[in-house]
């Protein structure tokens, strides 16, 4: 067990520890400053001398280039991403950012790094692909006011992307519920606006509004729960809360408080019954943004769930700490089934993907249930920690590769959206003839979502199922070898969650295949036969997603190792 290296803000090692965040911050400043650089002059008071100070006034050609913000954002996020990936190379160190009196605020370790990797990866791809989405109306000084406003939007959009990334990484790092909440809100508010940013379509504003209202209600409930926890424990530190929970975790107050907090996170991961806003938001937002909601934003909610359930209210902490276990099992079952059945009936591909993302949330909840189930039942006690690490590794791996194929699918829809519309299944018609590359990519993403080997989606789903089964079976193998006779009744009930997952995967094949059939074998819609709008950035992003999806299906060893490091560093008592 490695020791924590404590660093005070702006103390030694601060920059090294928070390098990705600082990069994002610098990018944010650059995004605000650079578009404002122009031929502005400054008159020294009392004199007639004007000094060029490069702020305001007529913009330079390069700084007023509407593509500029997109490039800045992409490069910033990409650099942050590379920085996080590189940090895995020489072993992730544990660094805590503490206040003056030694309270941990942020903790940099494998767990938070891998989630940062997810966030920055998804945001980089989305930012890069969005370059083809926001219309650019000319470059240069001779533009009408409207066009100038339009170009100004570019900067706003990417600033929001960066704040979103910053908020998410704070969530990943937070060691304090309050800090976590701040990060969550920063990211949430950015996504509310990003959803509403799709002004070209009427539904965009409506979706943003809906998402905002439901989201703020969920946050409000979460905040209320937070205040209850504070009332109970006198602190919002995770370790303090966890210690308190061991002592008197069966009090109604903390249980209700945790329940309320979970509502907030449940909304983020779009678990039933808090998922109602998700399909509207996904369908209304522009596709890259919807892709962020389905991948990065969901990973953020999962972090909250993991921290609350496995660290604070961990089942080992108290005898009855498993109150939430059954409940979570039921929620996961309902979530995956509801998501899949609703997806069967939706004809809008974006809604379909939204519901499929609900179903995936259900799978991940099932995995978290399994982690919770690992050692509370004495008869099934396994190697302590090992099973939990296995399942958690699976969840993290799933979240990482989900970025590739889920975001990829949204990016393909994004291309179609710039062609006019992607809100009907038939708008995918004839995609194979119009642009084979996109059709093949979409095909791969779809069957990867369905979990068909040998793609990344299969590996991740397999790992999750394997983790659950492992927990359910525990030491039974050894006991059987010793002559025991066990049936399904003796297997822990989470095994049935694995069965539910498997059956749900089979159901999901239906709607994923439908997309494939439409793409390859139906004629394009009226008047949409021509080639698709160009844009190499989005295609490059799709290609990247495609490569990851294919590659992680056959050679996942390295990523698995990273995920295992991350899973182990969540709770050091597991090692």
């Amino acid at each position: 067990m490695s020791t924590v290296q404590n660093v005070e803000p702006f103390g030694d090692g601060f920059i090294a520890a928070l390098c990705p965040e600082l990069i994002i911050f610098a990018g944010l400043l650059a995004l605000i400053i650079i578009p404002n650089i122009g031929k502005g002059t400054f008159r020294i008071p009392g004199t007639q001398t004007r000094v060029m100070w490069l702020f305001g006034g007529e913009r330079f050609k390069i700084t007023s280039n509407p593509k500029m913000p997109a490039w800045i954002a992409t490069i910033t996020l990409g650099a942050a991403f590379v920085q996080t990936v590189l940090s895995f190379q020489d072993g992730v160190d544990r660094t805590a950012i503490v206040t003056e009196n030694g309270t941990q605020l942020l903790l940099v370790n494998g767990f938070s790094r891998v989630f940062e990797m997810i966030f920055f990866g998804a945001l980089t791809l989305a930012a890069f692909a969005s370059m083809n989405r926001l219309e650019v109306k000319g470059i240069g000084p001779r533009l009408s006011t409207d066009d100038l406003y339009n170009n100004r939007r570019q900067a706003d959009f990417y600033i929001l992307m960066l704040t979103c990334g910053l908020g998410m990484s704070v969530v990943a790092l937070a060691q304090d519920l309050f800090v976590l909440f701040i990060g969550l809100e920063l990211a949430s508010f950015s996504t509310y606006v990003l959803v509403a940013f799709y002004k070209e379509s009427k539904v965009g504003t409506e979706a943003g509004m809906k998402y905002f209202i439901v989201g703020s209600v969920a946050s409000g409930v979460g905040l209320y729960g937070l205040s209850m926890l504070y009332l109970w424990a006198g602190s919002l530190q995770f370790d303090v809360l966890a210690a308190q929970f061991v002592i008197n975790g069966t009090d109604p107050l903390p249980l209700i408080g945790i329940g309320f907090v979970l509502v907030g996170f449940g909304f983020k991961v779009s678990a039933a019954p808090f998922h109602f806003a998700a399909p509207d938001a996904y369908a209304g937002a522009s596709s890259p943004v919807a892709g962020i909601l389905a991948t990065a934003s969901k990973a953020m909610g999962i972090i909250g769930l993991i921290r609350m359930l496995l660290i604070v209210a961990s089942p080992e902490a108290s005898e009855d700490g498993t109150v939430w276990l059954t409940l979570l099992g039921i929620i996961s079952l309902v979530t995956m089934t509801w998501g899949n059945i609703a997806a069967l009936g939706s004809t809008n591909p974006k809604r379909m993907l939204a519901y499929s993302s609900v179903a995936h949330a259900g799978y991940m909840l099932a995995a978290i249930t399994a982690i919770g189930a690992w050692n509370w039942d004495d008869s099934l006690a396994g190697e302590p920690g090992e099973a939990a690490v296995a399942v958690l590794t699976a969840v993290i791996f799933h979240l990482v590769v989900l970025v590739a194929f889920k975001l990829g699918a949204f990016l393909v829809l994004s291309v179609l959206e710039s062609d006019g519309d992607a809100s009907r299944l038939s708008s995918l018609g004839g995609l194979a003839k119009r642009e084979p590359f996109l059709a093949v990519a979409m095909f791969v993403f779809m069957i990867s979502l369905a979990g068909v080997p040998p793609l990344a989606g299969f590996v991740s789903k397999l790992l999750v199922i394997m983790g659950i089964v492992k927990v359910a079976i525990g030491q039974m193998g050894a006991e059987i070898m010793a002559g025991g006779d066990y049936g399904l009744a003796d297997v822990h009930w989470v095994w049935w969650l694995a069965l539910a997952m498997v059956i749900n995967s089979a159901i999901s094949v239906f709607y994923y295949l439908r997309v494939v059939v439409v793409m390859f074998f139906e004629e394009p819609e009226e008047g949409r036969t021509g080639p698709l709008p160009s844009g190499w950035q989005v295609r490059f992003a799709i290609l990247a997603c495609l490569m990851v999806t294919l590659f992680m299906g056959v050679a996942s060893d390295q990523l698995l190792e990273i995920c295992e490091v991350a899973a182990k560093s969540l709770n050091y008592s597991w090692n």
């Binding site: 193998g477 066990y486 498997v502």
Partner: protein, 525 residues
Amino acid sequence: MILLAFVSNANARMRARLVGPVRMACLVFSLLMLVLTTGMFFRYFGDVTWMDIGFNEYEFEHKYTWVESLGINWAVGLDALSFPMVWLTTFLLPVTIIATWNEKHGATYFPLLLMMGGALIGVFVSLDLFMFYVFWELTLIPMFFLILKWGGKDRKYASQKFFIYTFTASVVMLLGLITLYFLQDPYSLASSGTMTGRSFSIPELIDNARANNIGDNWYLGAQMQKILFVMLMIGFLVKLPAVPFHTWLPDAHVQAPTGGSMLLAGVMLKMGAYGMFRLPISLFPHALYHFQLALMIIGMVSLVWGAIVCLGQTNLKKMVAYSSVSHMGVILIGIATMQPMGWAAALFMMFAHGIISPMLFAVCGAFKHHYHSMEIGAMRGMAKHSPWLATSMMFAWMASLGLPLLAGFVAEIMMLIALWKMISLDGWSIWWMVGPALVLALTAAYYLWSMQRTIFEGGEDTQPPASMKGHAIPDISNSEKFAMLILALFTIIFGVLPWIALDMMDDWTIQAFEGLIIPLLKGGA
């Protein structure tokens, strides 16, 4: 060898711009593979006598670590159970390509066939559960596209039904495999994963199971063994397909293009039977005994139901598809007899049906290709107009109904003998013979009846079907003739000299029996 298959299809796909060269390239590669496997049989490549390979021993074994943490290996090997299937796959590939040489296909058709072949070979040679499952699912994708792209009118429905049926079954199987995986005693097997302590290796699992399946001692315990047996069997029975799960097959066959049907019926159905032998039977012989009656009933029902439904069909291809269901019932009965003879019959049936059914579908394909119709009544007096097609049809039909001296007969007679042995030795009711006896008559009836209506009836005065739109009636093309001749030739070879393949199968079943079943009967560990 799998590598070869994959390299070949990668090459072919790269050149997918031009149909002609691709077609040629595919043919050459598939022929190369055929030469390779045939050479393996005649001991030109690798000095292997296929006769005395013990149960759970493999030749040409290769093993590379794939995912170390989970105990996944890239492990391949051949034994007398898988080798005939591999040979069959490599044999059918060039034949299929030749038989559908002149049909109008896009550039991706032949590479898809090859990809299919590669995945099938992968299923047969893999000695690792994970790899097995991956290839098992991989066969779905090319088949899905083959049906979807070149299928008949209802191809969308058929291909989706096919995919969903088999996928659902195989995810249940997957859960069974994973449960089996975690039920192992941690770190008890040689190739256990570093992270999980369990192994996916099939040979090691089988060895482990054999060590524990002695007397009344059930590997993994009685309840677990039964549960896992059922879960694995669901996957294989749907693929086979046995009667309650068979409805995807006629749809898929009727809509599939000829080449697709040929491979589907020839090899893909056998994946189910092969899987049964490789996994549930080898691992859980106790459970096999336990479910013997259930399997026998499913087999009988498939056999009889398939035949009865055949009688009512007016669509030639649908009839042939249902006859496949009926023949797969024979395999199931062979397994359920629990006689070495019955198992050998099942194995030989897999092989014989693998040669005969492609011929049936090739005939259907030619019929469709030339007459643009699949209805049995649409074309009459074929003997007059297209003697070649009529002859090959007659030959295929006869082979399928089990004419002596043709391959199908050997398997059927063996199954009957095994059934008799079961009745006399194990004291089953004699009424179990009624099913097969009935089916012999039914099979003859539907085949002869359909032949009468297409080949012989009518004559001089028959008009070509309306779907011909007044074109002259052609006979089959040279490439089709060639494919038919090859298939017919091998049907005769394996009918007259069944020992070529039967010997090694016999050997395997006897070894397997000694390895699996005898320890159960002897009792006492």
